[in-house]
């Protein structure tokens, strides 16, 4: 049960990184978008998905709390500052995107704040992930380190920057698939440089990890280096595919390639760290909750997660095709008469 639930939690993390990753990335990209109409278009892509995407963050945090209370109770105080900064970033962007979309297209303040909030949140997530990889000092099942430990002598800044570029890459790749008009070409053009910068950043972070971390990284046993090796190959292949297919159809391929890279990255980290959950001392076995809790969680997840995935798939299907959809029902236009549902006409990239 514990192992199954760990997979669920890693899946929630992956879902969050993939989904909110691209919409945070789109937020970051709005900061560098000089054209007001295109900024608006980018906002509209995020408008109907961001809250669903962020639900995975709550699922992740609360799943961790339920299944491994010790991990939750030590990681959060240990990563206090980046977590709070992330929270402020998420507050800012979530509110700003709704404000911007419900106001006139000429509104600059909220659009700008949406970008700034997204940047803050993405950077802070990278910092806190770096801090977690470096290790959290725990004594008597409670956090016992110092305030700035998460910083890892600057390792956190590196992972923060890499996360920003990775999310921007995911955002650009998503816009290649979702954006219509000139925005599509502009974003497709960003995929290559962003992929190169991200590959460099990821390689540097990976090389420095053994120096920066206080955790034991195991690669000796065959059941570790084999999955690790495959994961590295898949990640490299993902970057390569995203680079190669940038700007070419089918337009969803670069985004799927980035997703595969993110999944492979997580698998590689699990292979390196397992069973440490909050490295170095809180492990899957020491942090696990009681049997009754685990049983409840397994049942809850088996009953509800399939439905969740189904209606999210449906919601994505409703908004398939490119933004802006030229059916006159785009966000912000507030049509006076409900058009009788014309199908979106340019759906070539959606699948």
């Amino acid at each position: 049960m514990l192992f199954f639930l760990m997979i669920v939690i890693v899946f929630a993390l992956l879902a969050y990184v993939v989904l909110d990753g691209y919409d945070l990335g789109i937020g970051v990209l709005t900061l560098f978008q000089p054209d007001a109409a295109r900024r608006r278009q980018m906002l509209e892509v995020v408008g109907n998905v961001w809250d669903g995407n962020e639900s995975w963050l709550i699922m992740l945090a609360m799943g961790l709390w339920a299944v491994m209370p010790d991990a939750f109770a030590t990681a959060l105080p240990g990563l206090y500052i980046p977590l709070l900064v992330m929270i402020f970033g998420l507050i800012l962007r979530g509110f700003s995107v709704e404000m911007a979309l419900h106001r006139a297209a000429s509104d600059r303040t909220w659009t700008r704040l949406f970008g700034v909030g997204s940047l803050i949140a993405a950077f802070a997530q990278g910092v806190l992930f770096g801090g977690l990889l470096c290790g959290v000092t725990v004594r008597n099942q409670l956090f016992a380190g110092a305030t700035w430990d998460f910083f890892g002598h600057g390792y956190g800044v590196l992972t923060g920057l890499v996360t920003v570029t990775l999310f921007a890459l995911a955002g650009a790749a998503m816009l290649q698939a979702k954006a219509g008009g000139a925005l599509r070409g502009q974003m497709a053009g960003l995929v290559r440089p962003l992929a190169l910068v991200t590959v460099g950043g990821v390689a540097l972070s990976a090389a420095l990890l053994p120096v920066a971390t206080s955790a034991q990284l195991h690669l000796g046993a065959v059941d570790r280096w084999v999955p690790f090796g495959y994961a590295v190959l898949v990640a490299a292949g993902g970057f390569w595919t995203a680079y190669r297919r940038a700007g070419r159809g089918p337009d969803l391929v670069p985004f799927l390639a980035v997703t595969a890279t993110e999944a492979a990255g997580l698998v590689a980290l699990v292979a390196l760290y397992f069973p440490q959950i909050v490295p170095p001392s809180v492990t899957l076995y020491s942090a696990g909750a009681s049997r009754e809790t685990l049983a409840f969680m397994v049942i809850a997840i088996c009953v509800f997660v399939p439905g969740t995935l189904a209606y999210h798939a449906y919601s994505n299907w409703v908004f398939r095709g490119r933004q802006p959809l030229d059916d006159g029902a785009g966000p912000g236009s507030r049509p006076v008469v409900a058009a009788s549902a014309p199908r979106p006409r340019s759906a070539e990239g959606g699948n």
């Binding site: 809250d51 669903g52 709390w65 998420l90 006139a104 305030t147 969680m297 908004f319």
Partner: protein
């Protein structure tokens, strides 16, 4: 390492203020979600364009408050572990799954259909829009249920065993349907519905006062007031019984603090008091003679009383002032709401509901009262549980993380500044949407012609469809 008292006090302030801020939005958006679903359902069934106009108008007010509810809620899920690491470790096996259930049953459901509800019109059929509106409303109710459940377990913990200072479930049925939950869930659902009802009625009253969008204004205020008039008597009854059959039985200390007597034997009900807890007395105390006996025990002989605080050791007493005044704010708010709803019923029977301007002004002033009373109720429930975090089992003082006070002060200040900015922006946005008014109907209804053209600052641009007869701001 034991955390310092300053750290604990500031952590409590942080949680209390961020939770109160958060509470404002669910208090409105649960009710608004249901209202929006009802409006679309009415349009779907009758085809009356008035309902569609109301639906669109309320949907956009609902959407922004809903977004603020989501983001301020994310804060709370992390705060459970940030400052309160020891608490998180102790209660995780029981409260964690409850909030996972909230995420699975409510957040995903709401988020999945919220996009379709807000942006999907014209892209999906009317039926799908209606189903989406219902799903968002159902999600909001599930969310209320599970969050109330987690909080109620901390009020009346059941179905657990303690292992190395950690609470572990032994019987999920007992843990989920704990005594507090069974009373507080209906109480809270009624509270948020009533809060939204006044918000809705007040905005209808505003348009009636301004003589704008009259068909929408009448319908809006009428629906809000009908809901308030039906729900308030039920709510008064549920709240009253909850105090008698739940709080008094399972959390006597809370009721003692709420009534604000230090000595035994006061059968009067304190209308006003300034407690001085250090001296274990009230500076000022004004009581309604014999009323406590009637209110709290339904004993009309007038000689029954809630015990005084001195019956509890001083180190285990809740801080009286917030419990006492939170309770008063809730009760006085409830009485005010009940009275106004009662007047509304009378005016309606005499067919003067929409024309009595003093009454419309009164309803406009009632706009925030439901939310304020709801927050007052939460102050009672949370500060009345002190000094316990899990009532009778886990003290607040042994629940905190070991962190430095500096980072906490910085984050507390940041929360206050950010939240002040957000609530200001939200209020201004709602005011803007209300002033701008609903988008006009395709066919002008009688009595509406020409009203909106008096709108100051309205641009003379035709609306997107070209069917608009009155100008709207683009």
């Amino acid at each position: 390492m034991m955390s310092s008292q300053t750290f604990i006090d500031l952590s409590r302030w942080q949680f209390a203020t961020t939770a109160a801020f958060h509470m404002t939005f669910p208090a409105l958006s649960v009710g608004l979600a249901i209202f929006v679903a009802v409006l679309y359902g009415a349009y779907y069934k009758t085809g009356n364009p008035l309902y569609l106009q109301m639906f669109r108008f309320w949907r956009s007010i609902f959407a922004i408050g809903f977004a603020l509810g989501i983001v301020s809620g994310i804060v709370l899920t992390f705060e459970l572990g940030l400052n309160w690491g020891n608490y998180a470790r102790a209660v995780g096996p029981i409260l964690g799954p409850m909030i996972v259930m909230e995420a699975l049953m409510a957040f995903f459901l709401e988020a999945g259909f919220f996009g379709i509800l807000v942006w999907g019109e014209g892209r999906v059929s009317k039926r799908v829009t209606f189903v989406s509106a219902c799903m968002v409303a159902v999600g909001a109710l599930f969310s209320t249920a599970w969050i109330l459940d987690a909080n109620s377990w901390m009020q009346t913990p059941t179905g657990y065993r303690e292992v190395n200072g950690q609470f572990q479930p032994t019987n999920w049925y007992d843990a989920i349907f704990n005594p507090a939950f069974n009373w507080r869930f209906p109480h809270m659902v009624l509270a948020v519905l009533v809060s939204a009802a006044w918000f809705i009625a007040a905005i209808g009253a505003y348009y009636l006062l301004r003589r704008r969008a009259l068909p929408l204004a009448r319908k809006t205020m009428s629906m809000g007031l009908v809901a308030a008039a039906i729900l308030l008597p039920i709510q008064l009854n549920v709240g009253d019984n909850m105090a008698s059959y739940m709080t008094e039985v399972y959390q006597p200390d809370k009721l003692i603090a709420a009534e604000g007597n230090f000595n035994n034997g006061n059968t009067g009900w304190n209308v006003f008091a300034i407690p001085d807890q250090a001296q274990q007395r009230n500076y000022v105390q004004i009581s309604l003679p014999n009323a406590e006996s009637v209110f709290d025990f339904h004993n009309f002989s007038g000689d029954e009383s809630v015990p005084g605080l001195k019956t509890i050791p001083q180190n285990l007493q809740p801080t009286v002032a917030p419990v006492f005044w939170g309770f008063r704010v809730m009760i006085y708010g409830a009485w005010a709401m009940f009275s106004v709803a009662f007047i509304g019923v009378i005016l309606r029977l005499r067919r003067r509901l929409y024309t009595e301007r003093w009454f419309l002004r009164l309803v406009l002033w009632m706009l925030p009262v439901g939310v304020i009373a709801t927050i007052g109720g939460w102050v009672v429930s949370e500060s009345g549980r002190q000094p316990w975090l899990v009532y009778g089992k886990l003290l607040v003082n042994s629940s905190a993380s070991s962190l430095s006070t500096g980072e906490l002060i910085a984050s507390l200040a940041a929360f206050w500044v950010v939240y002040l900015v957000l609530i200001t922006a939200w209020i201004r946005q709602v005011a803007r949407e209300v002033r701008r008014g609903p988008d006009p109907l395709p066919d002008p209804l009688p009595g509406q012609e020409g009203e909106e053209s008096a709108l100051p600052g309205a641009a003379a641009a035709p609306a997107a469809s070209g069917l608009a007869v009155t100008p709207v701001e683009a």
